[in-house]
């Protein structure tokens, strides 16, 4: 499990950053304006509501009369009803805006990710991309709906209340207003501190999850080493840190809130004192005093809310910048306009113009380094792979066996030099043309959620059921698949989790076969599978390799030996090259790799077959 830590964000508010979001909001103009207008209605009702009390005091209580109270109740009730309806309407529209905006941003991110090159995928953890697509978009959607609503409500309420107070009594209104600057400054001060502590808490929290993860996955090793106590010591340092940070946040909050309360009480005191003198002179002002009391107490929450939401807006800029950063990343590998003109792009291919692919591959003076690396991995590399040839690439884990395949498949392009397919530089044809002709079986076979049938059909969309059956027969997966509960229509769970590795392998072979590729890549599994499955897989591979140009990133001897060309890789570079017997005779690195593998495999084979 990877825990991706986000960097801190410390920049001022910027309209420019938020401008990036406007096009997405514009798509939902109607819902957006509905939400905002009904919200305004709600805030206006909130402002005038205390006037009902004033009316009651001035017209019923002070004159000691109940005349017209029925009508009063009716009006009051209708206002309540209007407000309830307005609340329902604005929440619905706000929800619509929130989810649709994040939905559209999510979609453009996803579409863009489908275009980005492997360079990007190689240096970017999946967790990072997931966070962009899933949580950043959600947060942005929330801010453009609820954030704006909270802000707008608070601003309208505060302004409205002041207008109402000014209308009722100018001096009293000005008196209450003197509190505002204090509250604002204090709120901003605390907000900033609290935000920082919360950030720290989140960080420690993810460290803690990581520590749990390690404690649990490493528990067996810890047992054999008897280091449980040490581990606990390390862990309790993390929980101690968490404790002290949360305490800090609590103390900050605990101080902040009473301060705000005291200010609100101060304003109440002023209203009572000054208002009291006014009423003593003019008893008919009692109703007004009651309105002031309500306002004086209720104005502080919106002021705090403005500060809070504003801080949220600033911190959401980080989410927006990360999203736009991803959207602005250009794919490294692109087709030229001429190529697109003739062959179409990834989304709208012009298949009618595609030439059939034969499968001759030639590396011609290829020099290569990974875009994010400094070291040249290939220099002036030449290799001719005639159609139908099998190339095996061997070496230890992490030795860089995938590089050649990455280049041949145009997941990366040579830094200089050319790669010719059927005699033409592959950059003269579209990526999709090449990719449609590649069959790829991964080390840990990657299947998608869904049924077996859907997964096989991934190789060829318009495949008929007969074609699927045929593909299964070719890789000899028929007995395995028919033993599944629903045969081809068995749901295999997320990533094919309900199947064994061997079963997954077979299905991914069938998927590759049905696409009938001219070029086939097999990234072979290192993990040992039982001999029976191994036998089946070997047979499947035999069938697939027939008449295709293929690359085998190989571990199993039986596979390696079959290859026409074997490339031996160490520390990223090609160390030896030749066929099996040539390489064995050299008694070099290949020999020692082979010997190790030979002993492991033969030992296991004999023991497990007895």
């Amino acid at each position: 499990m990877a825990y991706y830590e986000e960097e801190d964000y410390k920049k001022p508010f910027s309209i420019k950053v938020w401008g990036n979001v406007i096009p997405f909001v514009k798509l939902y103009k109607k819902a957006f304006s509905m939400a905002m207008s009904f919200l305004i209605l709600v805030s206006l009702i909130d402002i005038i509501y205390p006037f009902f009390q004033r009316y009651a005091i001035n017209n019923f209580i002070t004159p000691k009369s109940t005349e017209g109270i029925g009508k009063f109740a009716l009006v009051n009730g209708s206002v309540l009803l209007i407000q309830a309806l307005a609340v329902i309407i604005f929440i619905r529209n706000a929800m619509t805006v929130e989810l649709n905006v994040s939905k559209s941003i999510r979609k453009s991110l996803f579409v863009h990710l489908q275009k980005l090159s492997f360079t990007y995928y190689n240096k970017t953890p999946v967790g990072y991309m997931m966070a962009r697509v899933m949580s950043d978009t959600g947060r942005i959607g929330q801010m453009v709906s609820w954030g704006l609503i909270d802000l707008l409500w608070a601003v309208i309420y505060v302004i409205g209340v002041f207008i109402a107070m000014l209308f009722l009594n100018v001096k009293l209104a000005l008196l209450v207003m003197t509190i505002i600057p204090f509250i604002s400054v204090i709120t901003m001060y605390f907000q900033k501190k609290i935000l920082n502590v919360n950030r720290k808490i989140r960080k420690i929290n993810s460290t803690m999850t990581g520590a749990f993860n390690e404690g649990i996955t490493g528990a067996r090793t810890s047992k054999t080493l008897v280091i449980e106590d040490n581990n606990l010591k390390d862990f309790s340092q993390v929980t101690d840190k968490f404790y002290s940070s949360t305490m800090r946040a609590t103390v900050l909050n605990a101080i902040f809130i009473p301060i705000i309360l005291c200010f609100s009480a101060t304003s109440l005191t002023m209203v009572l004192t000054y208002g009291g003198y006014i009423v003593m002179k003019n008893p008919s002002e009692l109703g007004t005093l009651s309105v002031f009391i309500t306002y004086a107490v209720s104005i502080f929450e919106p002021i705090q809310q403005i500060a809070r939401v504003f801080a949220d807006f600033v911190s959401t800029q980080a989410n927006i910048e990360r999203v736009t950063g991803l959207l602005e990343t250009e794919p490294d590998i692109t087709d030229t306009p001429e190529v697109i003109e003739r062959y179409g792009d990834n989304f709208n291919p012009k298949k009618e113009n595609w030439e059939p692919l034969v499968g001759d591959i030639e590396f011609k003076n290829v020099t290569f380094k990974y875009p994010d690396g400094d070291e040249y991995i290939l220099t002036d590399f030449n290799l001719k792979i005639p159609a139908g040839t099998t190339v095996a690439i061997v070496g230890e884990t992490g030795a860089g066996k995938s590089t050649l395949v990455n280049l041949a498949c145009r997941f990366f392009e040579p830094t200089s030099g050319q790669i010719l397919i059927d005699g033409r530089d592959y950059r003269e044809r579209s990526q999709l043309w090449l990719h449609n002709n590649i069959g790829y079986v991964l080390q840990s076979p990657h299947l998608f959620s869904g049924t077996v049938r859907e997964n096989i059909r991934y190789g060829k969309f318009n495949a008929t059921d007969e074609e699927i059956e045929a593909a299964i027969k070719i890789v000899a997966a028929d007995s395995v698949i028919s033993s599944l509960e629903n045969g081809l229509d068995t749901n295999i769970g997320e990533g094919g989790d309900r199947l064994s590795t061997g079963e997954k392998q077979l299905i991914s072979f069938a998927r590759a076969v049905i696409s009938d590729p001219r070029i086939f890549v097999l990234d072979e599994a290192t993990s040992s599978i039982d001999t029976q499955t191994e036998q089946m897989i070997q047979e499947a591979i035999m069938h697939i390799l027939k008449n295709r140009t293929s690359f085998l990133i190989a571990h199993r001897l039986s596979t390696i030996k079959k290859a026409d060309i074997i490339l031996v890789v160490k520390n990223g570079k090609i160390l030896e090259r030749g066929n099996h017997s040539e390489l064995l005779k050299q008694k070099g690195y290949y020999y020692s790799l082979y010997k190790k593998q030979f002993e492991e495999e033969t030992g296991a084979a004999v023991l497990n077959n007895v």
Binding site: A56, I57, F60, I61, I69, A73, N76, A84, V87, I88, M95, T96, L99, N100, K103, K107, F110, L113, F118, V126, I216, A219, T221, K223, T224, L225, V226, I227, E228, N230, Y243, T250, V251, A254, I257, A265, T269, G276, L286, I293, N346, F347, F411, Q431, L432, G439, Y440, H446, Y458, E494, G495, T526, S581, L584, K595, F598, E599, E600, G603, L607
Partner: protein
């Protein structure tokens, strides 16, 4: 069910041990804060009624005496500011107690949770090996993080909020009843409705929420699959299909939430209306009473004020109630871990010398009643010798090593395992494991530096010894070739240790332990034979008197050990030295020996038939 209920709250209660008085103090402070907060409107009432208005002052006698001796109502009228300042004082007191309350509750709840987390961590480490084999890491982590978070939320907020609300309602209702019974009854009548409404609604929403959550999970899983499977997507040129698939799930997700939003909008709209209605009813009935002189204007204001202060906590109460079930589910999930029994020593466990012979006597073993893995196995390993085990998958070879290190306990009556004549079940577990160095086939390295990984046994910081052990394990050179050397963090981006390097680091780590017994569970499988040989000869020179148990498929490795045992299906089929086993023509050992030593022959062979077959 009843006992289960009791179990989980008992567990929570026991974690609160040591913080109980803090919880009590928190409750006390919050009550004081409420009291002072609720006295504030009383000041308003007095000022409105008796200072500004003409009602008679009703206050405790000593205050009345004080006021009257200083000029009565006129004095108050002239010092309105002083009266109002009293409100400020009350606010300050209320604020002070709120502050104290928050600090107490945070100390208590965070302390409790810290205790719970530490306990879980330590407990999980000490749970038997078999428990770790049975349970999925993801699920355990979820319980230790999300579920603990739910519990934290409960004790730091919901629990105290519930106590607070009950007190708040009780307190203000009492005051309200002393002012006007009819009005209070009207106010009170709404509360059960509001609570029930909130609780029912939140239950309903929880059900919908599950769907929306699942839709989010499906979308998230789809994106994850797409991103991790990017090679497959590109290799098949399936970007368009992926986008269509994404669109469907993206729409689903958004629509579920919008639907949920519609439900929420109804809840808020209706909730606002109902509570607004209650307030309005109080205002109207209050106005009528005030107009008829039943209550004073001040009382009217205070009454309306109290009432409006109650609405929120009461609405929230319903929500908390509906969320209680969530807490109890989480408590249960945590309890399931806590209730598991840790590994423990038998009574009077001993710490004997561990350098003696190892002896398995008529050992039978099965994993939880599933088919027997070891069938009446007896053998002796002489102290200081190297003992090799050869066997296929399921032959029981690993089980022997697990039993010796007591990762699994051999049940009574199933034979015995002795070290130096002492039954290992009587040996203190810590002593046993400290003296047995165990290298697993796929060792786990911690995400610390390589240095810290090797030194993890006792954090000696002895760099010389660390490098010495690494050198014996033939990994020193490789580590030094990393740009950060021994300070390279394992698993950090850019640095991938190969399987062989990991195994060698694990061996170095084990050597730091200076154990008298060493177990290599096929732990050189990813290392080539030359390095394997190099490591073993270095081991021999450095370990001296250690007894070594070695599982391997490699004859070149096994031929150098003192005694080799061949296991098949839980039984010993061959045992003896290399030469003895070779003499058995029908033996598996001989067969493997023949094949593996044929490599040289094959070499000359394949020179003839280029490419070579099987």
């Amino acid at each position: 069910m009843q006992s289960k209920n009791k179990g989980r709250f008992n567990m929570l209660y026991s974690f609160m041990e040591g913080y109980k008085w803090l919880f009590a103090l928190a409750v006390f402070f919050t009550m004081l804060a409420i009291v002072f907060n609720y006295l504030m409107p009383q000041i308003t009432k007095i000022i409105v009624d008796s200072v500004i208005g003409n009602e008679e002052l009703k206050l405790p006698k000593f205050i009345m005496n004080f006021i009257n001796s200083h000029g009565g109502r006129d004095m108050l009228r002239n010092n309105l500011l002083a009266c109002s300042l009293l409100a400020l004082l009350l606010a300050a007191l209320s604020g002070l107690f709120t502050l104290l309350f928050r600090i107490c509750i945070a100390k208590a709840s965070e302390g409790t949770i810290r205790k719970m987390r530490n306990h879980l961590f330590s407990h999980i480490q000490r749970l038997p090996y078999s428990w770790h084999v049975k349970n999925q890491t993801g699920d355990i982590i979820q319980r230790c993080t999300s579920d603990v978070e739910v519990i934290r939320n409960f004790i730091s907020q919901q629990l105290i909020e519930m106590i607070r609300t009950v007190f708040l309602v009780g307190f203000s209702i009492t005051i309200m009843f002393t002012m006007n019974i009819r009005l209070s009854l009207i106010a009170l009548a709404f509360f059960p409705i509001v609570v029930a409404y909130s609780a029912i609604f939140y239950n309903k929403i929880a059900a919908k929420f599950k769907f929306a959550d699942e839709a989010e999970g499906a979308l998230s899983a789809m994106v994850q699959e797409n991103l991790t499977g990017v090679r497959v997507v590109r290799a098949f040129g399936r970007q368009n299909y992926e986008i269509e698939n994404f669109d469907t799930k993206n729409d689903h997700f958004a629509n579920y939430w919008i639907k949920l939003g519609f439900l929420l909008s109804k809840y808020w709209g209706i909730g606002d209306f109902v509570s607004g209605l209650q307030v309005t009813l109080i205002v109207i009935m209050g106005s009528i009473d005030a107009a008829n002189g039943v209550i004073t204007l001040g009382e009217f204001l205070v009454f309306v004020f109290y009432n409006s202060m109650l609405i929120w906590p009461v609405r929230n109460f319903g929500r908390i109630l509906s969320e209680l079930s969530k807490t109890s589910v989480s408590l249960n999930r945590v309890l399931e871990i806590v209730a598991e029994e840790e590994e423990k020593d038998c009574e009077g466990a001993v710490t004997p010398d561990m350098t003696g012979d190892i002896e398995f006597k008529n050992v039978n073993f099965d994993y939880e009643g599933v088919k027997p893995v070891l069938k009446d196995i007896s053998f002796r390993i002489k102290a200081g010798t190297t003992f090799g085990i050869l066997g296929g998958t399921g032959s029981g070879k690993s089980t022997i090593t697990y039993l010796l290190d007591r990762l699994y306990n051999l049940p009574e009556g199933q034979g015995s395992i002795e070290i130096g004549g002492v039954d290992i079940r009587k040996i203190q577990l810590e002593h046993l494991r400290k003296n047995i160095g165990f290298v697993l086939q796929e060792p786990f390295l911690f995400s610390k530096t390589i240095k810290e990984n090797i030194d993890v046994f006792e954090n000696s910081g002895d760099m010389e010894r660390i490098r010495y052990c690494a050198d014996v394990a033939a990994v020193d050179d490789a580590v030094m070739s990393f740009s950060k050397g021994y300070d390279t963090i394992v698993g950090e981006r850019g640095v991938t240790l190969s399987g062989g390097q990991k195994q060698r680091v694990a061996i170095a780590r084990m050597l730091m332990q200076k154990p008298s017994i060493m177990i290599f569970d096929d732990s050189l499988s990813a290392v080539d034979s030359e390095t394997d040989a190099k490591i073993r000869s270095a081991l021999k020179n450095s370990t001296g008197q250690s007894t070594v148990l070695l599982i391997s498929h490699r004859i070149t490795t096994l031929m150098q050990v003192d005694v080799i045992m061949v296991l098949d299906d839980g039984k010993i089929t061959e045992i003896g030295s290399h030469t003895e086993l070779l003499a058995n023509d029908k033996g598996i050992y001989k067969k493997i020996y023949d094949i593996q030593s044929s490599l040289e022959t094959e070499l000359s062979h394949s020179a003839v038939q280029t490419g070579g077959g099987n």
